[in-house]
């Protein structure tokens, strides 16, 4: 099988626009959480989330991505995905390949829910004004695979054009599946990741109904996402996108690209248990991790850093147990969802990028708000970043429906 490396990274996160600005804030221990500003959420059980900043330092500038006319025609998850892809391609130096290069470049950017807002708004519009008022851009602006479609059209990439939909493991599955397409010679370059924009009345109300969101910390939203902490009460919703440029190793070397890391392992599994909950032993997670390690050809003890799924729900400690069974306890593990919230379909991609930064900088980002943790020898980076020499990192992502993905990344 051909080797696959990461040569470009881009993201739009609740901390900032861009990988560099997000990373700096992440390791400083900043939180992206706050009272919801996009709409009046005061009547909902949860009134806070991690919104992408549109103002202030590190703000995301939508005008730099699409003009207002085009922006009206796409849901925000597409806007974020296109922006993250632009940054990743710029970083990779792959913005203007040859015609042959474009034929060998594909896109696989997924989303957990896609254009939820557009669908909700259009449903209200039909009710109020009738079906003739539905925009011709509603469907192409809401479909999940239209991030991949838009990125393909924008950059002329004519290779595989695909989209993953596996709830909160979408981003990890997209990177893993895209890497396989390269390994199997279906493409030389893949633009892969996830995008999500679920912060809306219907999104919050829906996850509230599942009892999945934190509800207790409206007075101090930045303390609400607290993975592994005894007082955690649910996840904090985030939004944004993470996109990587994956490339066949020799292809990257031949053009002198900067290689950020290698994707050495990818494992998938299903729980066959429950629509929203993992089994008490999360043996599905264990099997996904073991499968990824088998691909990587290493034992679990070689993993230096784990970016946990760690959503700040009851499942956190179940994941920790599974990680300890697979990797032992001499390792560093953190949940960056403590800082940026849960980006659902974008989470796995954003967190894989954090893993790459950890491998390259030797800094494991902190788990914010972890005050009363579980009894474990694993270093959970409670409230501060941890330095170390990390050769291998593992990133876990689990989704509703009982879907699991693990990625193993290696410093190159």
């Amino acid at each position: 099988m051909r080797r696959v490396v990461v040569t470009g990274m881009g993201m739009v996160s609740p901390l900032a626009s861009g990988v560099g600005a997000t990373w700096d804030r992440l390791v400083e221990g900043r939180s992206g959480a706050g009272t919801i500003t996009r709409f009046d959420a005061s009547h909902l059980a949860t009134t806070y989330a991690c919104e992408v900043p549109f103002e202030g330092e590190g703000a995301f500038d939508p005008d730099a991505v699409m003009d207002p006319k085009d922006r009206r025609r796409v849901d925000d998850f597409i806007l974020y995905g296109v922006a993250a892809a632009d940054e990743a391609l710029e970083d990779a130096g792959w913005t203007d390949p040859s015609d042959e290069g474009k034929l060998r470049t594909g896109v696989m950017i997924g989303s957990g829910i896609g254009g939820l807002n557009s669908i909700a708004d259009t449903a209200v519009l039909i009710k109020e004004k009738g079906p003739r008022r539905v925009s011709p851009f509603f469907i192409p602006g809401a479909l999940i695979n239209l991030v991949s479609g838009q990125v393909g059209i924008r950059h002329g990439f004519k290779g595989p054009n695909h989209a993953v939909v596996t709830a909160c493991s979408t981003g990890a599955h997209a990177i893993g599946d895209a890497a396989r397409l390269i390994a199997l010679d279906d493409a030389d370059v893949m633009v892969a990741g996830g995008a999500e924009s679920p912060i809306s009345e219907i999104g919050i109300a829906g996850f509230n109904a599942c009892k999945a969101l934190s509800t207790k910390r409206g007075d101090a939203p930045e303390t609400a996402s607290r993975p592994w902490d005894a007082d955690r009460d649910g996840f904090v919703m985030g939004e944004g996108a993470g996109v990587v440029v994956l490339e066949e190793y020799e292809h990257a070397k031949a053009r002198g690209a900067t290689i950020h890391a290698e994707v050495v392992g990818y494992g998938l599994s299903g729980d066959a248990y429950h629509i929203t909950a993992p089994p008490p032993d999360h043996e599905g997670a264990e099997r996904a991790m073991r499968a990824a390690l088998k691909r990587a050809g290493i034992s679990g003890e070689r993993i230096g850093y784990v970016n946990a799924h760690g959503t700040s729900t009851m499942a956190d400690t179940i994941e920790l147990d599974a990680v300890e069974r697979v990797c032992g306890s001499d390792l560093v593990m953190s949940s960056t969802k403590s800082s940026i919230g849960h980006l659902l379909g974008a989470a796995g991609a954003v967190e894989a990028i954090f893993c790459v930064r950890t491998l390259r900088t030797g800094i494991a980002p902190p788990t914010l708000n972890l005050e009363n943790g579980p009894d474990t020898k694993v270093n959970l980076c409670a409230r501060r970043a941890v330095e170390g020499d990390f050769e291998y990192a593992l990133s876990n992502s689990f989704g509703f429906g009982g879907t699991n993905a693990s990625l193993v990344l290696k410093r190159v």
Partner: protein, 77 residues
């Protein structure tokens, strides 16, 4: 220029992101102003909204140019 023509022009400029002076009476939405089939659907919806009229699908198909639109709208009023 009639009031209808002015309002049609404004809508076309806004929706298709084109220069005002390109929006002549003879200009074809698709051939001259860069619209695709989805843009023309949206334009017709914008005309309906602006002028408080209904443009049935078979009539919409006959509206190819800026002048066609102005003519159709004036007949409805």
């Amino acid at each position: 220029m009639s009031d209808t023509a002015e309002r049609v022009k404004k809508i076309v400029v806004e929706h298709l992101n084109v220069e005002e002076d390109k929006v002549t009476k003879e200009a074809s939405f698709i051939d001259d102003l860069g619209a695709d089939s989805l843009d023309t659907v949206e334009l017709v919806m914008a005309f309906e909204e602006e002028f408080g009229i209904e443009i049935p699908d078979d009539a919409a198909e006959t509206i190819q140019t800026v002048g066609d639109a102005v003519g159709f709208i004036d007949k409805q009023k």
